[in-house]
């Protein structure tokens, strides 16, 4: 995995898009973010290749969620930029940003389902917003198809408050992929779940990647889950990516903090 921090920036392409190496979907370059005196991200540079699952591993408060929000343009970096298929999403606003976000689906830590809407309406929401040409019958069919993909058949009429944590996450996942985006971002998808449900959610993430060929970015502190689903794992420590390797190589890393972090899992297993 190449760290792009030392690379020189490519000049803008003639059509206004910036050039990116083949096979890359997202490229973050030199991201710095401060909240008051708290310097959360300290020069993050990382590439996300097309069709792969990258897990960003790190402890609580290491800046994982902040990094993810930069990838989709929910936060703007103080320094640096995020390129999504050549578009500098960090500079976009208004309609252009809205259009760029159409490439993404996002699964939130606590699912972030609209609690005033039923499960069916939650999953149908992106379709009703962005595919106004679809009839209600077609929308219902697509919603049922996506819910079935995650074992949630017949739950359309239920409300988020009636669901377990695992079911809420799966509904969040169904909502994130209903528009069949190219990129899916997962914010702590297995936090707060029991081991069986965690494994089930891992399978869902793998299934979404296989069936829809999406590029997945997962932020997590769940080491077992990360090694289960990742093509590559980046370790975030004190606002920097200190390692970024495939799981088999990362396990033998000599970085002291990463070794300490991984020993909490592999030491016991």
């Amino acid at each position: 995995m190449s760290d792009v921090e030392t690379e020189t920036r490519a000049p803008p392409a003639p059509d206004g898009l910036e050039t990116m190496p083949d096979g890359l979907v997202i490229r973050a370059q030199g991201i710095h973010k401060r909240f008051g005196d708290n310097h959360v991200l300290r020069g993050i540079s990382i590439d996300f290749p097309k069709g792969t699952t990258t897990v960003i591993l790190g402890g609580s408060g290491s800046g994982k969620s902040v990094l993810m929000k930069h990838l989709i343009g929910l936060l703007k970096p103080d320094e640096g930029r995020v390129l999504v298929e050549g578009i500098n999403i960090s500079q976009l606003s208004g309609t252009a940003l809205t259009k760029a976000r159409m490439k993404f689906g996002m699964v939130f830590q606590w699912a972030a389902l609209f609690d005033s809407m039923s499960v069916g309406d939650n999953v149908a929401f992106p379709l009703r917003e962005h595919h106004r040409e679809l009839s209600e019958k077609e929308i219902a069919e697509r919603v049922a198809e996506k819910l079935a993909l995650f074992g949630l058949e017949g739950t359309e009429a239920k409300f988020p408050a009636d669901l377990s944590g695992g079911m809420r996450k799966r509904v969040g996942l169904a909502r994130a992929i209903v528009l069949e985006p190219e990129i899916v971002l997962y914010d702590e998808p297995t936090t707060g779940l029991d081991p069986i449900t965690t494994e089930y959610v891992d399978e869902m993430i793998l299934r979404a990647k296989e069936k829809l060929q999406v590029t997945s970015v997962v932020i997590s502190h769940d080491i077992g889950s990360a090694f289960n689903i990742a093509d590559s794992i980046a370790f975030l420590y004190e606002g920097k990516i200190v390692e970024h390797k495939p799981p088999s190589e990362l396990r033998h890393s000599e970085h002291p903090e990463l070794k300490k972090f991984l020993s909490t899992w592999f030491g016991r297993n």
Partner: protein, 277 residues
């Protein structure tokens, strides 16, 4: 506290304590201007999004129903008792000058110009403003607003515009109903309790009250509606810190809106008097 200010405190404690109140006041003024700036930006964003597709009539009607119909009982109750009490006090006071015939006109003109818009605004603030701040605050802290943005939907267009527009439409209607029940209350007390002749009561109203009094009050109430909507949405969308943050947002909404209504009332009244008197 910065290192520099800590050193100053250590070396010149008296100067520090002299300076502290001025710093606090200065910071308060700066914060006020920052908030007014953010509110102005939110209003500008709301204006821009109001005219962009997709239009959301269903959301607008839902908000009109929630704010308008939902606030109706409290507004009618307040209006009725405001009219009853005002007429009762006026009839006692006016009796001292043998001017009971003016009770109806006085109450109606006060309701139309001031009491209707202001009291309706305060009631809607307490009922709908705090509810909007709580709802949006909860959506903010549970990442539902982030989810909206991640799905390429503008929270300003989806959440703010329907609520602010609904309040601008609904507030004058609620004020009109407030005025009507207030008038009924005044009529009941004046005619059946104070013994004022109903013909005299009504005649003086026709003689003194002008349609401009009513329309000016309705204009003010529409302005109050816009302020309540903007402040409540701003507080809710900027809530942070979990359930406590949501509670703080709701409380600050009620305080900010109540103060804003009273301050704005003075300036709008001045403006209306300049235009129509």
């Amino acid at each position: 506290m910065t290192t520099e200010s800590a050193e100053n405190t250590a070396t010149t404690p008296v100067l520090h304590w002299v300076r502290l109140p001025f710093e606090r006041i200065g910071q308060g003024v700066i914060d006020l201007f920052v908030e007014v700036g953010h509110l102005t930006l939110l209003a500008a964003g709301g204006m821009a999004w109001s005219f962009r597709r997709p239009f959301r009539p269903t959301l607008l009607l839902q908000q009109c129903e929630y704010i308008g119909v939902g606030s109706l009982p409290i507004v009618l109750l307040t209006g009725l008792f405001a009219g009853l009490v005002f007429a009762l006090q006026s009839s006692i006071a006016f009796a001292k000058f043998n001017a009971e015939s003016l009770v109806g006109a006085t109450v109606v003109i006060s309701l139309a110009r001031e009491l209707g818009p202001v009291l309706t605004g305060l009631m809607v603030t307490g009922r709908a403003g705090s509810a909007i701040a709580t709802e949006l605050g909860t959506m903010r802290v549970t990442e539902q607003i982030d989810a909206l943005e991640s799905m390429a939907v503008s929270p300003i267009q989806y959440l703010v515009v329907p609520r602010v527009v609904a309040l601008i439409f609904v507030m004058p209607m609620l004020t009109l109903l407030f005025n009507y029940v207030g008038f009924l209350g005044a009529f009941i007390v004046s005619v059946y309790q104070a013994g004022i002749n109903e013909g005299t009561f009504m005649g003086r109203i026709y003689q003194v009250v002008d349609i401009v009094d009513l329309l000016g009050g309705l204009f003010k109430s529409a302005c109050f509606g816009g302020v309540i909507g903007l402040v409540a949405c701003y507080r809710g969308m900027n809530a942070s810190g979990g359930s406590r943050g949501v509670g703080v947002a709701a409380t600050r909404t009620v305080v900010s809106c109540s103060v804003s209504i009273l301050v704005l009332d003075y300036f709008l009244t001045t403006l209306l008097l300049m235009v129509f008197e």
